[in-house]
Subunit: 341 residues, 2 copies
């Protein structure tokens, strides 16, 4: 099943069901006004949404309309929980190697995770709005899941059962604000502005063989200013599965329906260099910080700049037949303009 | 105006207006189903809620019912944003003094703030539910505000205008999980379980002279296991006002209506010792960690234990006439039991 949220309809938008080929969608106001509402009442709403999905796919839907990603918000325009893991330890290893530091042994058994802000996500085609290029705008291409209600202390097995939907996310980072912020000891805050999610959220069963052991085993495609930048496989080098990440998040508190848990920047090891660019025959990167670290190790200093006003990033994932699964996140860096309410 | 949320009515409860003396309340389903809904449409809902408030206070409300805090959830049972400052630098100074460390100069100009989890708050009379006493359960008594929509980069002056409501909060902390978690560098996560808020949220105008320059100038009363534990003045030694804290939170992202921003543990300096207990003639503390730090400085080791199963904490604030403003947070530490949904 594929779900999305039209921008029209207020702060939570309007829930729709999208066809498998992303060509049509149908509104479902009688089933649930919003995705959050559907998740709040999943046992009742999911079977009915699946019926609409089946009709969209076989061409018998009564009110199918053409799908255009530009009309859509992130599947949850605002959420109650957004926690982002750092499950691809290669990313950490690379950063540490650049400063000749060891990765603590515990990092391989105890997931790194930061508490994100979830009140004001932006849409998949909305700008990355910042007040200054000097903040050091970077993309982070990731996979994320939306959960149902997860009790405190849930095992990874229990957590796996509560994974309702899968999405892509651009977890935008302001690299030049990170060092001072982390030095204060309380984690990220100003350095993690609004994230954007893929236009479509997909139930795990829809992913078929690509969803195994709570990992999504397909390449994640990242294009920076129109050039291929990354295509690492999200199922490789993922030290912690989504089931483990959800269980980690629920260790001392309940997660309620609609909680979003992210994978962290997808990163493949590719041998001893901890990754190389697509131009050099590698699978490339899912954030600029990583290639800058690689450049620092190789040449002594970073070469690739962070994103400037006008720069674009596109994040997408294709199935084995080359069809887009989630639709594309496609964002341009722009100066912030206050929204009318 | 005083607002609260009945537990009945689903995940967001049901919004009610409460009389000034906390003796009666009236449901307002025709104005707004939930507090979040009221905040989403504040320009329309606030004047109508104020009309009901006036009628409750002069005894002309049509459907007033007796108010019992046990029936109420936190004003926002789930929120889209919960960010907690650390505005009382005395708390930081005390902790640093215990380990002979300096407070960085920047801490007096750049607020410390952590991104909290907001998906599953508990009610003001619900237990502090944990799976183990060994986690080191501590209270943190604080003041918090709920904002309207705040644009990115808002000045403190603009931020001040967007403060809609004021509450108390028990920002429960799991002290024994904090050292390992902060050492990982990504801030708090498992060490900050579900917070509880006061049964009633109050508009700033209701606070009269006690609300000055976005600070709440009244003592905060904390009772631990029935004994007076703290009564520091929340308006004293607050290095950053709520306007400054909200502006800090909005530096690189918009805050949407219903965002909650906390003050951090209230703490008064009381001279060179950075605080002393009520038994010793001081104003006491708003968290156990602080008295343990004080004990460590004085005697070489902490004496006061963290909370055990069965321990209780009550947090309240009284106006100049001795009347409770927000109602009381009153919680007991209990073993976690999974909730039926």
């Amino acid at each position: 099943m594929k779900l999305a949220t039209l921008k029209t309809g207020g702060r939570d938008g309007s829930l729709v069901v999208v066809s498998r080929d992303l060509k049509t969608y149908q509104r479902v106001p009688k089933i649930a006004a919003s995705l959050q509402h559907a998740l709040d009442n999943w046992d009742i709403t999911a079977p009915r949404l699946r019926e609409v999905y089946a009709m969209l796919n076989d061409g018998t839907a009564l009110a199918a309309q053409p799908f255009d990603a530009a009309d859509f918000h992130s599947p949850l325009p605002r959420a109650y929980q957004w926690a982002d893991g750092s499950a691809y330890i290669n990313h950490v290893e690379l950063v540490r190697k650049a400063r000749n530091a060891e990765v603590p042994e515990s990092f391989y058994t105890d997931p790194l995770m930061y508490q994100g802000g979830s009140d004001s996500f932006v849409g998949p085609r909305d700008p990355i709005a910042v007040q200054s290029e000097e903040w050091g705008v970077d993309l982070e291409a990731e996979v994320a899941v939306i959960t149902g209600d997860v009790p405190m202390g849930a095992s990874p097995e229990r957590a796996a059962q509560e994974i309702r939907l899968v999405m892509l996310v651009n977890d935008v980072s302001l690299r030049n604000l990170i060092p001072n912020e982390l030095a204060k000891g309380f984690g990220f805050f100003q350095s993690k502005p609004a994230s954007a999610f893929s236009p479509v959220a997909v139930s795990p069963d829809e992913l078929g063989d690509a969803w195994q052991d709570s990992k999504l085993r397909l390449p994640l495609s990242v294009t920076l200013n129109g050039q291929p930048f990354g295509r690492p496989n999200a199922g490789e080098d993922m030290t912690f599965s989504f089931a483990q990440l959800v269980a980690h998040a629920a260790k001392t508190r309940e997660l309620i329906a609609g909680s979003i848990i992210g994978s962290g920047t997808v990163s493949n090891k590719q041998g001893s260099l901890n990754g190389s660019s697509i131009a050099n025959g590698g699978v490339g990167y899912c954030c600029i910080a990583e290639v800058r670290t690689y450049e620092t190790i190789e040449t002594g200093s970073p070469k690739t700049p962070f994103m400037k006003f006008g720069d674009t990033v596109r994040i997408e994932m294709f199935d084995k037949d080359g069809a887009s699964i989630f639709g594309a996140i496609d964002q341009k860096v722009e100066p912030y303009v206050e929204r009318a309410r």
